[in-house]
């Protein structure tokens, strides 16, 4: 009798543990989205010679540590890939961002699409009808006295 209660309890315990890991903990750590495959984008862009590295620099914007993962620019479309990290359930990436061109023109603002977990998020900001032959862009945003601004040279592409 005592033994069977213990066994039942053991089953309940394991159900709670496995259920908790699969349903609650895993989704917080593994970003759930099959819409984005950034690594594949980068691989393809590298072999096409249209991938550019971002500056090795971290900037803080609303408590989120931002880095540029890369830029894909084919002379017409410009995609800026950004990673932002901050512990918390809210969004870790700037709501919106603009691109400043050397000509003084501004593209955007654009909001992002991407994936996020409890610690970090990665997203892409996409701009269309971009002038060809750009050698440098500035990617940034301001909001209520907080700002970030990355200077990204588009001089030398990174090949695979």
């Amino acid at each position: 009798m005592k033994r069977s209660v213990s066994n039942l309890l053991r089953v309940i315990e394991w159900l709670l543990i496995v259920g908790g890991v699969v349903l609650l903990l895993a989704p917080m750590i593994i970003p759930y989205s099959d819409m984005y495959s950034f690594n594949r984008d980068f691989r393809e862009a590298k072999s096409a010679g249209i991938y550019y590295e971002g500056p090795r620099e971290k900037q803080t914007f609303f408590e989120s540590k931002l880095t540029i993962k890369g830029v894909i620019y084919d002379g017409e479309n410009l995609n800026v890939y950004v990673r932002g990290c901050r512990l918390g359930s809210g969004s870790k990436l700037p709501q919106q961002a603009v691109v400043h061109l050397p000509s003084g023109e501004t593209l955007g603002p654009r909001s992002w699409g991407g994936t996020m977990n409890l610690f970090c998020g990665t997203g892409v900001y996409s701009y269309e009808d971009v002038p060809a032959g750009l050698s440098q862009i500035t990617f940034g945003q301001e909001s209520y006295d907080e700002a970030f601004s990355f200077e990204i040279p588009l001089g030398k592409e990174v090949a695979e």
Binding site: S6, L9, R10, E13, W14, L16, I17, G20, V21, L24, L25, M28, F61, F62, E63, S64, R86, G88, S89, G90, S91, K92, P94, Q95, Q96, L118, Q141, S143, Y144, D145, E146
Partner: protein, 193 residues
């Protein structure tokens, strides 16, 4: 004895997991200000705000936050998880009371299951106004003193799909009880002269 040890270890794991999940959901926010932080950061809004009006509308709280530095307010429905931790459940953010209106209000609602949470929010620039009164569509009257003398805030719980919780009219009175403004859904503001 050995069996008991296994149970204790498993329950310890379950409790730790529960704490992690609860922490991720609520950030263990013991105050409304702490509970709204994630929403504000996510929207790239400053987090130095103060809860100036908290209305208990049944299962949910309607909270208005004031940002003194940028002179704007946010409102959010908030749930108290386990009766302790404040968790935001959507709202409206970054409204700046503009000088061009003496008084202005808007209403909205949030449906959660079979319940609807209706709110009225607005602001007053006319310093004569001392109290605000709402006449709900079901005939009940409710009065409030504007938060900080300028923010109008009402919230009520009702049945989802029922219209009895909408605003019929909204009145503003001076210190002596004289009616200064009568507003409704069609005339929801009074312009400054």
């Amino acid at each position: 004895m050995k069996r008991a040890k296994g149970h204790i270890i498993r329950w310890a794991i379950i409790v730790v997991m529960g704490i992690i999940v609860l922490g991720a959901m609520t950030s263990f926010a013991l105050t409304p200000e702490r509970g709204i932080r994630e929403s504000l950061l996510g929207m790239n809004l400053p987090v130095e705000v103060e809860a100036v009006s908290v209305i208990d509308a049944g299962g949910i709280h309607a909270v208005v936050f004031w940002d003194e530095k940028y002179q704007m307010y946010h409102h959010s429905f908030m749930k108290q998880v386990l009766g302790l931790f404040w968790e935001a459940r959507g709202g409206g953010f970054g409204t700046k009371p503009q000088e061009e209106w003496q008084i202005k209000f808007g209403e909205g609602y949030s449906t959660q299951g079979s319940r609807a949470y209706h709110y009225v929010i607005g602001w007053i620039n006319d310093h004569e106004v001392a109290t605000v009164e709402v006449l709900w569509r079901d005939g009940t009257l409710e009065q409030m003193e504007p938060a900080m003398g300028r923010i109008i805030h009402f919230a009520r719980e009702g049945e989802a799909g029922s219209s009895s919780w909408m605003v019929e009219e909204l009145y503003a009175y001076d210190r002596n009880g004289n009616r200064l403004y009568t507003l409704d859904n069609m005339n929801y503001f009074a312009a400054a002269e």
